[in-house]
């Protein structure tokens, strides 16, 4: 199967898996943020505009269950999609170091933007939401993302 087809297949699987875990099973932080991983993966395959549009769609889906902070996820995911696509022009290759940094930073920036956009009354403490949960969530998402990429053969660069 061609690489881009495998990427989109993995993005589709991650999309369904994320919604199944977070909406179907109602899991919160126990389940990784696979939607951000899917967005970051797809952002490396398409242009900035399409990645932004995909981010907007993903964000609206997440906002559908958070009435009082509607739009916060949309802005965060759109921004991450667009920024993810820009990295394609800045960084080439798929070394383990790059992928881990890409997923961790992507998820952390997503949480940071969401924290900024969510509004004063709903905002959790910065230390908990961004510094602790954001980084742990980033590492969790990166771990799962890299394992899935290795399983599907999308990550071929053997470290060391």
């Amino acid at each position: 199967m061609r690489t881009d087809a495998r990427v989109w297949l993995l993005v589709g699987v991650l999309f369904v898996l994320h919604l199944m875990l977070h909406v179907g099973l109602g899991l919160g932080r126990e389940a990784p943020d696979l939607l951000t991983v899917a967005l970051l993966l797809s952002a490396r395959e398409v242009g900035m505009g399409r990645a932004g549009a995909l981010g907007l769609f993903f964000g609206l889906l997440e906002d559908a269950l958070s009435v009082l902070s509607f739009g916060a996820n949309s802005v965060a995911m759109t921004l991450i999609g667009a920024l993810g696509a820009i990295t394609r022009d800045l960084f080439v290759g798929d070394s383990l170091l790059f992928l881990v940094s890409y997923f961790v930073l992507g998820k952390w920036v997503r949480d940071l933007v969401h924290w900024i956009m969510v509004g004063d009354s709903l905002r959790q403490p910065f230390l908990d939401q961004v510094m602790v949960q954001g980084l742990i969530g980033g590492a969790y998402a990166a771990g799962v993302g890299i394992v899935l990429m290795a399983l599907t053969g999308l990550w071929r660069d053997v470290p060391g």
């Binding site: 949309s74 696509a85 969401h114 969510v118």
Partner: protein, 296 residues
Amino acid sequence: MPAYGPEPETTPGRRQGALAVTCLLLALTTSYLPGPAQHRIAWSMRVTVLRPFIATQARLVAAWDNRVQVAVLRQQLDSLAASLSTQAALRDENRTLRNLLDLAERVEPSFKATSVLRGGTPGSESMFIVQLGSRDGITMGAPVVSRHGLVGRILEVREEISLGMDWTHPDFRASAMLENGTMYGIVENRRGTFREEDRLVLNGTAYYESAPRGTLVVTSGLAGVLPRGIPIGRIGGVEDVEGRWRKAYRLEPMVEPGSVTHVIVLTDRADLDLAQIWGADSLATREQAISEGRMP
């Protein structure tokens, strides 16, 4: 020879940039849309893409209940049947007397029971979905209770399902009083440094009135949002004191929203006093119930 300059940007690149900026502006716009427009967008997502996943959770909750809680439900049903059998004659007599006194219009409280569904997406903490809607008589602001007390209230109502928030939500407020009506205040959720430190606080009480530890706090029915008499929590100690004019008390909540799977939504809120509905065995906080071995 032309002067050296930056590499000209290609048309597809510009188009992609313009599309990205448009998407970002659209995303920013959604944050500032009026509430009804936001609700319509959220609703369209819930009834299309998210529908199978929400339905999956509903089926899983039902299957889990069938598998695990049969024995508990049977015990509760037996208790209920025993209680009803003794009260049936009393209720009949009460109804006859009401009719005689022309009190038919003062109806008894009506409730709808349902399961609680929760999303795990960012920003949906403290929110829940109930599979009851306007066709079941649910209205915006309707109180959501469990057998221990107040869980939260309904925020958005559609025909088939509704969205609610529990008391852990930062916007949650309830007008409350001590069980004996000696002290009034506002119950609110107070944020800690970490989510686990969030606590329920009875705020705005008079400085020279004091509430003994363990006193039950119930809704006061003021402002007409929540009916009077729904248990919220028990006084756990003084949270803070401001000058010599205001005290706030920390509450031990009656209900831990995260562990609630079934709730009752009140469909009729007109000037009710629900204090008699909660029996003595329900008026224990979850911690007390666990320590007394009445809850797993």
